[in-house]
Amino acid sequence: MTDDGSMAATGGNQLRRRQVIGGVAAATLAAAAVGATKAEAASRIVVCNWGGEGIKAQSAAWGQPFAQHSGVPVEFDGSGPTFGKIRTMVESGNVVWDVCDANLAVAIDLGRKGYLEKIDWTVVDKNKVRPGFWNDWGVSHFVYSFVLAYDKVKFKDKPPRTWADFWNIKDFPGSRALSARTLGSLEAALMADGVPARKEALYPLDEKRALAKIKAIKDNCVYWSSGAESQQLMRQGEVSMALMWHTRATTLRDEKNSHVDFTWNQGLMIPAGWIVPKGNPAGKAVFDFIAFTQTPSTQIELLRLDGSGPANPAASAMIPDDLRDKDPAYGPNAEVQAVADPLWLADNQDRVYNDYVKIISG
């Protein structure tokens, strides 16, 4: 209506144009295409991710090296692989993405609904991810964490260390920022309520308990819906503590004259994951690309470029000193965190979202 509604990043204009032309061509040549199998040697791989830093970093760490290694160019579309777009593409039979930057919960959810290709384990190696960081439709290409960021000037002598401190408005004054999505917020609430920071202790989430805890601080809380917004809230001093992605918190911490720091303690590690939309244009060739992104050196390069933590334990073991305090998967950092459970999230996330909205908008 009035709003142009273009909140999504606009990185894929060129690609979209190509998509339209491709669509027309596909329609006219439909008869010829029927029965023809996907070309064995793909002419290119199209990766869809979330734009911003991720486009430059993933292109430098994975896209260009893979093109050199295999001769197949890799193109990036930063418009964001939302569920809706993947579903529309698959249902209309006009899939333009070969691989999407998502997470393992999305992989289970969309995979079960029939929108994804299964991962080809003859090409991709299960042993090159942390234990359990894969499923039928997804394989983790990096990890990221929700961490507790705080104003280190304001809490000079006694910085917050736990979610219990985050919930303690009396001793740690100031507003708080949580995510507008349930992921991270519910887990933090449970840890604040005394649940240990371990996957087995947290999941299945006691949603009632978590929501009651969130209700208790909602008068002091705002909810961000993008990483940039979470940074803005901390940078401008709108809030004194925030639940935010470690990549964003690291950038804030490393800024000149920064007043922000964060703790890995009680962080929540999320296995990000590649997913392949059903009927992807490059066919099986995409798994060569996915396998390539498992190499430790490329994952360390990605960590250097945009802070994404290596999903391959072999990479975590080789982290150079200067990157250790950025890496959620680095031993001492990972030890104090909990790992998210993709299976529970895939089963329950959408349902709990409605209850969450009821509380934060009430």
């Binding site: 209506m1 009035t2 809706g84 777009k85 819906s225 959408d350 009821k358």
Partner: protein
């Protein structure tokens, strides 16, 4: 007056536009309507959910409340702006009109971010008020319903001003002079002559602003701090992130129905042309 023949020619000329509307608007809307009755299972289930679940009722109430409040304030302010512009000399008038139109042409995102800079805790407004000693604590003007209302009213004032202005400019100024000559004071002249004559523009502006308010997305998302959820935000989330297309399309259909009803009601009182400034 159009003759029958020229009307037919007119219809012919409009054909490409009608086709475009059919392909780009009617088909997708039809698809939305279909999905709302078929996802996830065929039937009226989605609409039953909408009418019975407290979350959807609350989202509807929030949307209506914010839309009505924004309409009242924006049309009220727009009336004042239009009045000043209508009374100004023609030279000044085009400058004043430009002042109204510049924000009108600016992106909704830019305008929302500008408000963030002005209204945030350490923003321009709070810093100024605090350094003047007028307030001790920064005012909470952002990331709540107040922030959403400020942003939406600001966005809507040009939409209110333009139809009001065109209706005011059509008023014969000699009528006011005649009223004054017959002994009516300025207030009485305003109340009995000018206001009634500007009513079609007022009604048009009210409906236009209200209808546009119902679909706001970016402004509440950026200025509401995640706490003010209007229906368009929930639809976007349901389509893109949760694949809850049944509920999302049912909400979209209900929203469209509300807009159409508003327009039909409006058309009984005013000529619809006045909505779009062609009075």
């Amino acid at each position: 007056m159009l003759t029958r023949r020229s009307a037919r020619q007119g219809g012919f000329v409009a054909l490409p536009a009608l086709l475009l509307i059919a392909v780009c608007f009617v088909l997708p809307v039809g698809n939305v309507l279909r999905l709302s009755f078929t996802e996830p299972v065929p039937g009226f289930e989605n609409y039953v959910h909408l009418a019975t679940e407290s979350l959807y009722i609350r989202i509807a109430i929030t949307t209506l409340r914010i839309s009505v409040l924004t309409t009242v304030v924006a049309v009220g302010l727009g009336y004042l702006v239009a009045y000043v512009i209508a009374q100004a000399s023609p030279g000044l008038r085009s400058w004043l009109l430009l002042v109204v139109l510049i924000p009108f042409w600016m992106s909704v995102l830019v305008r929302a971010f500008a408000w963030i800079l002005l209204l945030q805790r350490e923003g321009l407004l709070n810093s100024a008020l605090m350094s003047l000693g007028l307030i001790q604590q920064p005012l909470s003007l952002l990331r709540n319903e107040t922030g959403v209302l400020i942003g939406m009213v600001h966005y809507m004032i040009p939409y209110a001003t333009l139809p009001l202005l065109s209706s005011m400019l059509a008023i014969d100024s000699r009528l006011m002079a005649a009223a004054r000559a017959c002994g009516a004071g300025p207030i009485r002249t305003m109340w009995r002559i000018f206001l009634p004559l500007s009513l079609p523009g007022l009604a048009g502006a009210t409906i236009l602003v209200f209808v546009l308010n119902l679909g706001f997305l970016v402004t509440p998302a950026l200025l509401g701090g995640g706490k003010v959820i209007m229906v368009a935000q929930y639809i976007q989330f349901g389509i893109n992130e949760t694949l809850n297309w049944g509920i999302a399309t049912a909400l979209a259909t209900s929203l469209l129905a509300l807009v159409l009803i508003s327009l039909v009601v409006a058309s009984r009182f005013i000529r619809t042309e006045t909505l779009f400034g062609a009075a």
